[in-house]
Amino acid sequence: MIEIQNLTKEYGRIKAVDNISFNVGKGEILGFLGPNGAGKSTTMNILTGFISSTSGVVKVGGVDILENPVEVKKHIGYLPEHPPLYLDMTVKEYLDFCADLKGVPQNKWKSQKKDIMELVKITHVSHRLIKNLSKGYKQRVGLAQALVGSPEVLILDEPTVGLDPKQIIEIRNLIKALGKNHTIILSSHILPEVSAVCDRVVIINKGKIAAIDTPDNLSKALTDFSRFTVTVAGPENKVKDIISNIYGVKYLETGAKIKDDEYSYIVEADKNVDVRKPMFNQLAQQGFPILELKSLNLSLEEIFLQLTTSEKKEAM
């Protein structure tokens, strides 16, 4: 649905977006992840035709955005970082204006307006001036604006920013539901959000793509060791001795003291060796029972940090 090839945007000498390429399939929800200033908003602004790229190709539904911007824009709904609202209008007037601007036929608009307002739950504020709405409702009106004309592609720049936790969950569920018949690109710097909602994640750092994959694969690919915590009853030095002598254990650290002679340890071991069985046997032999064993998967957050910081090292 969306093809991006070698996209670059330069601001003078600074490369805000540096030669990125990726595709988004129809009906896919793609997460766009990166620290502040990584180039997320710039990329989205280019995709929607708000700014132009320095070089590279963007195609939406097979149409080049530079060759036929008007056609492309018809298929895109965009919620920018700051929702583009006219504060002096009521919600209803504003949505009517958006429909008018996007050329939605009058007869279709009436029922669509009702659907959209119900979907984002703003029906009860439709007669209020946007200026008097809370941040959360403004965000919803912004989202409603993106849905006007039911475009095939939705581009949402940090859609949950500034919302309270309950609203965040609501908006996330809404995005998931919309993903069934829309192609969505969603940017965020909140990681759980991306892993909860998206089919695929693009991690971007300093204008470059650091990784593209599904959230699950990303966490698998990046762990070249298995990692778990184990809580054992027994004196710290003896237990440590036993664990560290097991074949495959690469790293051992005392995590927390739970009570006297009861500690939790963080163990990292070779991925190809299952160290849990020998650990259990040997500790049991010595009379130090394992009270808890929990594997620690690398969270998206850690992957994100790992990717974005290893990039830094390369640059140096």
Binding site: K9, Y11, T42, N45, T48, G49, F50, I51, S52, V70, E71, K73, K74, I76, Y78, P80, H82, P83, P84, L85, Y86, L87, D88, M89, E93, F97, C98, D100, L101, K102, G103, Q145
Partner: protein, 235 residues
């Protein structure tokens, strides 16, 4: 284009700006009218319309200052530029909205010619010709104001730019007298007021009409250029 025009036009009347401007305009016109009657001039109406056009120096900058600048400041520019509307349509929509408010003000001012017609026997063709000139010069100034508004996101700066520019245009003929030869000719050619004064004398010249319309069109094209340029350079 029409969507933007309707929205902007309504927005003028949703805020006090249109009412304040019309009120101020009418008040000043009333004072002018009153003093003109006192002078006992024969072609009172063309005098009157001429003083109306000098008021545009203040009225137009206030009218147009928010047109583009406000969209930029509020971020609603993104909405317009990512919609399927072309930049030219956006600018024309904005221009037409401001121009329509200007026309509403012009319509309100028609009460003075009506009074004159009821009380005496003015040259009606002269009134029509003066008003035509006035509307054309209004179109030029409005497009100039829109252009100024597209240069900045600060409304006050936009108002000052258009105020200074309108002042220069109104006085460029006077500036021309300081020069001779080519510069004098160039300034006189640029001078819109000379052509405007023709209308006030009852001369309706097609070249003058075309000149005024092209003048306005130049500023609209420039505004489109400014917006396009920003998209390419900075965003």
């Amino acid at each position: 284009m029409l969507a933007i025009m309707r929205r902007d036009f309504r927005s003028y009347f949703n805020s006090p700006i249109a009412y304040v401007l019309i009120g101020l305009f009418m008040l000043l016109l009333g004072l002018f009218f009153n003093s003109l009657i006192g002078y006992g001039i024969s072609d009172i109406m063309s005098e009157f319309v001429a003083s109306m056009s000098s008021l545009l120096l203040i009225i137009i900058p206030i009218l147009t200052m928010r047109s583009m600048a406000e969209d930029k400041k509020n971020g609603t520019e993104v909405l317009l530029l990512t919609s399927p509307a072309r930049v030219t349509e956006i600018v024309l929509g904005k221009f037409l909205a401001s121009f329509c408010v200007f026309l509403v003000m012009t319509a309100a001012s028609l009460i003075f010619p009506l009074i004159t017609i009821m009380a005496g026997k003015p040259d009606i063709m002269l009134i029509i010709s003066s008003y035509l000139g006035y509307i054309l010069i209004g179109a030029v100034f409005v497009s100039l104001g829109i252009f100024a508004s597209s240069l900045t996101e600060n409304q006050i700066v936009a108002a000052i730019i258009s105020l200074v520019s309108i002042f220069l245009i109104q006085n460029i003929g006077y500036l021309a007298s300081f020069f001779s030869g080519f510069l004098n000719k160039a300034f006189l050619w640029l001078s819109i007021m000379d052509r405007y004064n023709d209308f006030n004398k009852g001369i309706i010249d097609l070249t003058s009409i075309m000149f005024m319309i092209s003048y306005a069109a130049v500023f609209i094209v420039l505004t489109v250029r400014v917006i396009e340029h920003k998209r390419w350079s900075q965003g």
